[in-house]
Symmetry: C2
Subunit: 164 residues, 2 copies
C-alpha cells in the first residue's frame, strides 16, 4: 500500500473487506469463527448479524469481550507477512429490535449484504454492535500501529476526504 | 465444493491455504492474529513459526490453548456464508531446537514458506506445534461437521488417495 497515512490504509482495509474472524471465549479457551461485518460510517463500530443458535453467540452471552480480525485476503502471490491486517478489540452488545437506531443499523448491514434479507426474516438472528476500543494494525512486515478511538475517527475522516 | 466426503473437503481447504487466524487469550480476552501455517502430512498438527517478541507468543506462554481458523478467502463474488472454513482447537507447544524432529518440522515449514529462511536465522523465532483436538468445519451454508482426531487422519488418507 502506498497510502500517505496508516489511518487511511486502515480505513481502506476495513472498507474493502466483508468477512472478519471473531474471537470469543468458549469454556475458557479462545475460539475463532468467521462472520460478515458492516462497518459504521465513522469506523467506530462493526455490526454483525448472528444467530442465537450459533456457538459464537452463546459465547458472547457469557462474555461480551471479543477480538475481531480483518485481513487482506491471501491470493498466494505475496509473502503472507506483507498482508495488511487489523486485530480489533471491543465488546459485542446486542442491538434490541425496539431501539431507536435499529432500522438505521439494519439498513447499513443489508446494504452491504443484500443476501442477508433472508436471515433478517428469521427470529433467531440479531444485530450485535462491536464498538472498537483498540486495534493493532499491521500495514505490512514490521509496520505495526496501535490505534485507539481517535485514530478510528481520523481514519474515517481521511478516507472520506480521499473519496472526494 | 463437490467433493464426495466432508473429510476430503476439509483436507482440500487445509492444503489449499497458507494463512490462519490464531485466537489466543490476552488479559482474559480473546485476541485474533494472522499467522502462516504448515500442516503436517497426517493433518493432525499445524506448525507456526513465531517471534518471542510478538503478542500472540506471549499469550501462548501464559495459556497454550488456542483457536485456529482456516478459511477460503473471500473474493467478493459469493455469499460469504458459503465460504468453507474450519475452526480448530488445540494446544500450542514449542518445538525445542534440540528435539529429534526439529529439522523435519522446520523442513516442512520452510518448504511451504521459502521466504521464512530469513526468520529462521533470527534467534527470537521458534516453531510451535498445534495438535488439533477438534475442528468445527463449515463446508458451506448450514453444512457443519464436528471433527476429531480420527476425522483428521481420514481426511489425510482420502486426500492422499485423491491425488493418485
Amino acid at each position: 500500500m502506498s497510502e500517505s497515512s496508516p489511518q487511511l490504509a486502515y480505513a481502506n482495509l476495513i472498507k474493502s473487506q466483508r468477512v472478519s474472524f471473531l474471537g470469543t471465549l468458549r469454556d475458557g479457551s479462545p475460539s475463532v469463527s468467521m462472520v460478515s461485518y458492516a462497518e459504521t460510517q465513522d469506523l467506530s463500530s462493526f455490526l454483525i448479524h448472528i444467530s442465537g443458535l450459533a456457538q459464537h453467540t452463546q459465547d458472547i452471552s457469557h462474555s461480551a469481550r471479543v477480538g475481531l480480525m480483518i485481513a487482506e485476503p491471501d491470493d498466494g502471490t505475496r509473502n503472507p507477512q506483507t498482508l495488511a491486517r487489523a486485530s480489533i478489540k471491543g465488546n459485542a452488545v446486542i442491538v434490541p429490535r425496539n431501539s431507536s437506531n435499529y432500522a438505521e443499523l439494519a439498513h447499513l448491514y443489508t446494504t452491504k449484504f443484500p443476501e442477508s434479507a433472508m436471515t433478517f426474516s428469521l427470529g433467531d438472528f440479531e444485530i450485535y454492535r462491536i464498538e472498537a476500543k483498540s486495534a493493532r494494525f499491521v500495514a505490512g512486515f514490521g509496520k505495526i500501529f496501535n490505534f485507539g478511538p481517535v485514530d478510528f475517527l481520523e481514519a474515517a475522516a481521511v478516507h472520506a476526504k480521499s473519496q472526494v
